[in-house]
Symmetry: C2
Subunit: 288 residues, 2 copies
Amino acid sequence: MEVLKIIIGFLGPNGTFTEEAMEVWMKKLGFTPEQYKKVAFFSIEDMMHEVGKSLDAAVVPVENSLEGSVNITVDSFIRGVDAMIKGEVILPITQHLLLKNIIPLSEIKEVLSHPQALYQCRGFLKENVPNARLKEVSSTAEAAKLVAESNNKIAAIGSKALSKIYGLKIAAESIQDSNNNMTRFYILSTQDEMVTGRDKTALIFSTENKPGSLFRSLKIFAEKGLNLTKIESRPSRRILGEYVFLIEVEGHRLQEPLKTALKKLKLTASMFKILGSYPIFDLNELKR
Amino acid sequence: MEVLKIIIGFLGPNGTFTEEAMEVWMKKLGFTPEQYKKVAFFSIEDMMHEVGKSLDAAVVPVENSLEGSVNITVDSFIRGVDAMIKGEVILPITQHLLLKNIIPLSEIKEVLSHPQALYQCRGFLKENVPNARLKEVSSTAEAAKLVAESNNKIAAIGSKALSKIYGLKIAAESIQDSNNNMTRFYILSTQDEMVTGRDKTALIFSTENKPGSLFRSLKIFAEKGLNLTKIESRPSRRILGEYVFLIEVEGHRLQEPLKTALKKLKLTASMFKILGSYPIFDLNELKR
C-alpha cells in the first residue's frame, strides 16, 4: 500500500532559506525527508494560490529583521489568497560571497543575488567591491546557479548550502551588515492551528480615511491589553494615501480576550480578514 | 556678475520620474531650466546626505500608490539623514515597453527595469512575455540605456521621455497594471517650509515593545482630531519585531493643535525626529 505523502511548496530553486525553513518545520512535526514531497515554486503568489489545490502546505518569507516585510507575501493575502497561517519559523540569515574560483575581490565585475540579500550586504559591497555592478535576480539560489554556469568575474551572495549545491567557493564569509539578520517565514495550509496557549494571530483590515480611524481600530486591542507584535501598512492600490493594514497580535482567535476584540474590529473595518492563529516560534528549536 | 544657481539633486540618470518631479517642482517655484543646476545621483542615501553640502536641495521618491513606500528613502531618514522635507510632488506614472527595434513580444528574452516598475507591470508581463527573464536594474533610465546599447532581444520598461532620450521604440503603451499609478516625491532641503495653512508634517518615532504603545502614540493625534495621512513601519534593525514608524499628519509643526501633540509624543517616544512641515501638493498644478 502506498502511503500518501504531504506535498509542501517552497520558494525555489533548491538551497534557498525558504527551503531551509521548510526543513526546520517538517523536522519539528517529526517528518523525515522521505515522508513528504517538496515542490519548488518561482512565484510566491502562484504558490500561495496552490495551497488546498496541488499543495497541502507552503512556506513563504514574511519579514526580515533588516529589510522589513516581504511585500509580495503581504500583498498576496490582500489580493485574496485563501491559505491560512498554521505556523511560523524564524531563521538566522548568514550570507557569503560565492565565486566559482577564488580571485581578488577587486576583479569582480558583477554581484548577483536576490534584492533583499544585496540590500542586507550593501555595506560590505560598497566597501569591498565598489565598482562591481549589482544585479538583482529572483533568488539567492538563482544567483549561485548563474555564477556556476558563467565565467569567473561574477559573484553571488548566498548561503553555505548553496555553495555546496553549486560547487562554489566562499570568497568572504558572513558578509551581512548586521548580525541581527533573521528572517521569519509563514507556514501556510488550508486551516490554521489549534490553541496551544502561546499563540499569535495575523489579520488584515482597512479603515476609512478619516481622522483617528486607525487609532480607533488599535484601541480595541489596547483596551484589552493585547500586544501587537507587528503592524504593516500597504497601499490599497486604489488611492494614494489609502492603506490596508496587516497586524499580528498575541493570542488565539478562538480565545478571549482576542475573540471579542476581533468581533468588534470586524464591525468597524471596511475590509477584514483573519489570516490565522498559530504557535509562536521558539528560537531554541533551532538548537535541537 | 555671475548669478549663483540653485544646485538640486535627483535620482539619475536622465529621464527618470524623479527628474520629472524635480522639473515640476522648479517650475512651480518659477525657475527656468537655465536658473538651476541639476545633478544626477545613483544612490538615494548618498544624495540625501549631500543636502546642505554639495546640494541645496534634492528630490527623492517616497511612495507609489501600487507598490507602497520606497524603503531606502524611509530608512535613510531613520539612519540619520539630516535633510528636511520642504515640499512634495505627486506624478501619475505611465510605463511603456521599450525596444530598440520592434519585434514580436514573444521573441523578447529579457525585460529590464527598476524593481518597482517591473512590479507595477507584472500582470502585463505575465500575460504577454511569460518566458522573458525579468532583470532588476537601478532605474528605468538605466534599463533604457542598456537596451539602447544591446541587441534587440531585450526590452526595458520606462517612460516616454526615456524612449526619446535613448532612441527606443514603444512596443506597448501604458502597460502598468492599474491606472491609479501615482508616485509621491519629497523635496529635501536644509530647512522645511513656512506655514501655508494647508500643510502636512512628517516624523519618525519608535515606541517601547509593550502592549498598546503604538496605540498610546496615535492617541495623542486622535484626541486632537489630527488626521494621519500615512503610517509606515520599518524594522529597527536591532530585534525582529521591533519597529520604527514614519507618520505623516495634517497640520504644521509650528501651529496648534499639532505643536502640542508633537511635544507630547516626544516625551513618550524612545526615538523622535521631525522630518519637516510642507504644503500639501495640489494635483491640479500638473495641469498648468
